[in-house]
């Protein structure tokens, strides 16, 4: 027991310099900008086919989501020969459940609007980490459904942007948004304002040091 306590007791392991330089240093923000805009554009492209044009999934004259239903039907089908698109039975059952309950009507909106939103947020660099996480989740699900396409590359890119969330939106709206809103462990002025207006009487959270302050 003493050995376990010694091994786990309040030991913080620090990242090596190169890792911190890549994921935490604003000097490399231009590199993250390139990755972010590329990924965002790919998401807007993917979403545009679903919200616009003859083959769109939503806002059609007939029922919405028929395109998604076709995708699900193809994914959950088990061919007589060869291997099925979905490797995991639990995921096939999950899609089958959504398909048989006609969830595609509203889920098509979730995917189409979600893809557009993720694309726009990545391009302007607002809530970049959150947008990358949502994008990676969609990539992950598309891959589980047997659709490779560009998903593996976009997934890796999203994970890297997610890891570099502190600086990946630096040349973007996050440059102002993150210091203002703060983080769960360091609330910004907006968070402090909410607490002040709420009159909880608690201590004023520490403000992020302002740029240019000496």
């Amino acid at each position: 027991m003493a050995a376990f306590n010694k091994a786990f007791h309040k030991r913080e392991l620090h990242d090596p310099g190169p890792v911190r330089a890549i994921f935490s240093n604003t000097w490399l923000a231009p590199l993250w900008l390139l990755a972010r805009v590329y990924l965002g554009y790919q998401w807007i492209l993917a979403g545009s086919h679903k919200v616009w044009g003859d083959q769109r999934w939503i806002a059609r004259d007939g029922p919405d989501g028929l395109g998604l239903k076709a995708f699900w039907d193809k994914a959950i089908a088990i061919p007589a020969q060869g291997s099925p698109a979905i490797k995991y039975d639990w995921y096939r059952e999950f899609l089958k459940y959504m398909d048989t309950h006609a969830w595609y009507h509203w889920f098509a909106w979730v995917i189409a609007v979600g893809e557009m939103t993720v694309g726009v947020l990545l391009i302007v660099g607002a809530f970049t980490g959150l947008a990358a996480l949502v994008g990676a989740t969609m990539n992950f699900n598309f891959m589980l459904a047997g659709s490779a396409s560009t998903n593996p590359v976009l997934f890796i890119l999203a994970i890297l942007i997610l890891l570099g969330w502190k600086v990946s939106g630096w040349i973007g709206v996050d440059r102002w948004l993150l210091p203002a809103l703060g983080t769960p462990w360091e609330p910004g002025p907006a968070g402090a304002a909410s607490a002040h207006e709420g009159g909880d009487g608690g201590p004023t959270p520490r403000l992020t040091p302002r740029r240019g302050t000496t």
Binding site: L33, V37, Y41, M116, V124, I171, A190, A193, R210, R211
Partner: protein
Amino acid sequence: MGYVLIALVDGTLALDNRHEASGEEAEPTGEGRREETVTKLTALILGVAAWAAVAGLAVVIAFNMGSKNQVLMFLPILIGVVVAWGIGEVVTEHVFNGTKEGA
């Protein structure tokens, strides 16, 4: 609401209110302070509009050009982001930091 919006840019007003709460004299006062707040709000609204324009540009390009020659499509969006960010940096420096710390 306006309080939170201003705080979104640089937290300047939040610092002002802390001055008030602690009984310190806020500078400038009265008309000057109102003018300063209007300037900040205008800067904030223009900033939000600039970023919305970048988002609109990206959507318009993607919808109209699709995946044809992605490098050419990529560049205007990239330039739009950099320009909006650069303007934001300059405006933040002059409108927000300058008023509180430049004096």
